[in-house]
């Protein structure tokens, strides 16, 4: 499950929290990778963290609903909850300078 860490300078930072190899976890990873291939890959470094193995990291980011994609950088911290199947929302939310809110409620 642990994914390779990709590091680069001046990039944003994403963390995807999943719980083991559940269907939701796998779908979330697939959807994130799609978004990265589309356009986000150049903007962000990312890592996938299994909460079952690293609950302390999940505590740090206040995770309770999963899967959860956390944009740690740039600020503001933004959390996307769910399997990321709303790919449009993911792209809209994570483009630099983009606004996620178009008829969305928390």
């Amino acid at each position: 499950m642990p994914r390779p860490r990709v590091r680069g300078a001046g990039k944003g930072e994403l963390r995807l929290y999943v719980t083991g190899s559940t269907l939701l976890s796998l779908r979330a990873i697939e959807n994130l990778e799609w978004s990265l291939q589309q356009e986000l890959g150049e903007l962000y470094d990312y890592e996938v963290i299994d909460v079952l193995e690293h609950p302390e990291l999940a505590a740090e980011d206040g995770i309770f609903a999963t899967p959860a994609l956390v944009r740690r950088q740039p600020l503001p911290v933004r959390k996307l909850i769910g399997d990321l199947s709303d790919r449009e929302l993911v792209l809209r939310s994570l483009r630099f300078g983009g606004s996620p809110r178009e008829g969305q409620t928390r």
Partner: protein, 507 residues
């Protein structure tokens, strides 16, 4: 810290209590009694209440009692406010959550939203992350108790409350598998309305307990009700509770306590040898004497002499006075030849003098419990009980009296309460009618008009478990206190304050 565990252990199972569901004695004083021995173990219970009703406190106390009284670890999951806020708020009760945390007995799982953080839903989710964090902490501290504070904070974070409900249900099922007893708090909008705000919270848990804090006769009166224990018996109805800075929540189980107490049969002096004789040789220890009479008939004097007799025998006394100030009490006692000042300095006497309006009766009862537990008096005097009736609602006075009775029986005190009646006698408030039924001895002091002069007379109306003198005796109040004279004969209607026949007083 957790006093009154004794009454919890005295729990009697309520009727039909043989359902075989294991109970977890939670250690909140009084609660286990009305819960039929405790919460159903390994199940989840919703604690619902309006803002300020004590939900969070109940949850934290559940954890603290687990650690302090039973050596059971706990986990606090906080949604509404950061865990450190909760820890700070309960500091004033003497609970140091940080210390429990450092000792590895308590874990805090913080899931409160961080200000300025944005959260969006981008697909299907579950609460697996929460469960993973929770399970880790349960394992780490060996927790058998878990508290969620509160569910109300979770719902607005998600668009579909049915998903939240389903996921919370999954969490409680998992906790049940782990054998953990869980409390979940939830806010409700009204004291008597839907169980909780989102209408689904009650379906997440097995059991429901409601905390109320309604305004009643311009006073807050806190009550607790067990609405539902799935498959387990419990006592029904609302039970008053109080929150105080020394022990947190104390539930007053009313009639459910006290009944098992043994009745002591040795006698002790009421403070007047003549009156002792009328009682058949003194009053019983662990009994309650009610002295009822109009103002000026000598009730306070009887209470003073009652305490003085104890002091002479080396027995500690505790006086609650709601009608006279401390200097007045000391001065009056001195005029009857009793030095209360000395007794106080020697630590044999405590005088608690206060306005009856100052404290709610539920709180007063809990304060009295602390005081009695600390000071361990043998004699207790309350002057007067009727003034408490005057400043409270009927229900809360009745409950106070029942609570007081069980306190007296539990600590095996001998108590004297005074009751002020009208000058003519006769009428009593409904509250005090209740008192009469639980007192063991009733002494009536009356003014009577005999041959154009007003005299005082005393009679013993009731003496539980003993024969007693049933005559009506005249008495005078002089420099040495009360002087009992002979029986008043050949008259009737004295109790009603209207003697009907010409009378003679035999000397």
């Amino acid at each position: 810290m957790m006093s009154a565990g004794a009454s919890a252990r005295a729990a009697r199972p309520p009727a039909g209590g043989a359902e075989g569901i294991e109970r977890l004695e939670i250690g909140i004083p009084g609660f286990d009694v009305i819960a039929g021995g405790g919460l159903p173990a390994g199940r989840s219970t919703l604690i619902a209440g309006t803002a300020g009703s004590g939900k969070t406190l109940f949850g934290v106390q559940f954890l603290v009692a687990g650690i302090e009284l039973y050596g059971q670890g706990g986990v606090l999951v906080s949604f509404d406010e950061p865990a450190r806020e909760i820890a700070r708020n309960v500091r004033s009760l003497g609970w140091d959550l940080g210390a429990y945390e450092r000792a590895g007995r308590l874990a805090m799982v913080d899931v409160a939203l961080v200000a300025g953080e944005e959260m969006l839903e981008a697909g299907q989710f579950d609460f697996g992350g929460l469960l993973a964090r929770l399970e880790r902490q349960i394992e780490r501290v060996g927790a058998t108790r878990v508290v969620f504070d509160s569910l109300t904070g979770i719902f607005p974070q998600f668009t579909d409350r049915n998903v939240v409900r389903r996921e919370l249900h999954r969490v409680t099922s998992r906790l049940r598998e782990l054998g953990v007893t869980t409390l979940m708090t939830a806010e409700r909008a009204e004291e008597y309305g839907p169980v909780a705000r989102y209408g689904v919270e009650e379906f997440v848990t097995d059991n429901v307990v409601i905390l109320r804090n309604p305004l009643n006769h311009e006073r807050r009166r806190r009550t607790l009700e067990i609405l539902k224990f799935r498959g387990a018996a419990h006592h029904k109805g609302e039970y008053p509770f109080s929150i105080d800075e020394r022990g947190g929540i104390t539930v007053i189980p009313l009639a459910e306590t006290g009944l098992k107490m043994r009745a002591l049969t040795d006698r002790t002096s009421i403070g007047k040898p003549d009156v002792d004789q009328m009682c058949g040789g003194g009053i019983f220890r662990d009994s309650i004497v009610l002295v009822s009479g109009a103002t000026g008939t000598g009730k306070t004097m009887m209470a003073t002499e009652f305490l003085a007799a104890g002091l002479r025998a080396g027995e500690r006394g505790l006086l609650y006075s709601f009608e006279e100030s401390r200097p007045q009490i000391l001065r009056n006692a001195a005029s009857w030849g009793v030095d209360f000042g000395d007794a106080e300095r020697e630590g044999m006497l405590r005088i608690d003098s206060r306005y009856p309006e100052r404290t709610g009766l539920e709180d007063l009862l809990v304060e009295m419990r602390h005081q009695i537990n600390d000071f361990r008096p043998v004699r207790l005097a309350i002057d007067s009980l009727s003034v408490l009736d005057r400043v409270s609602s009927g229900a809360s006075f009745r409950e106070f009296v029942i609570g007081l009775t069980s306190l007296i029986k539990e600590f095996e005190l001998v108590a004297m309460c005074t009751n002020t009646t009208g000058v003519g006698g006769g009428t009593q408030s409904p509250g005090l009618t209740q008192v009469s039924t639980i007192t063991d001895t009733i002494i009536l002091l009356r003014y009577v008009e005999i041959a154009s002069s007003v005299r005082r007379c005393l009679t013993i109306l009731k003496m539980r478990g003993s024969a007693h003198d049933k005559t009506i005796r005249e008495y005078t109040i002089g420099g040495h206190g009360m002087e009992l004279g002979g029986p008043i004969a050949a008259t009737s209607g004295i109790l009603a304050g209207t003697p009907g026949a010409r009378s003679q007083v035999r000397r």
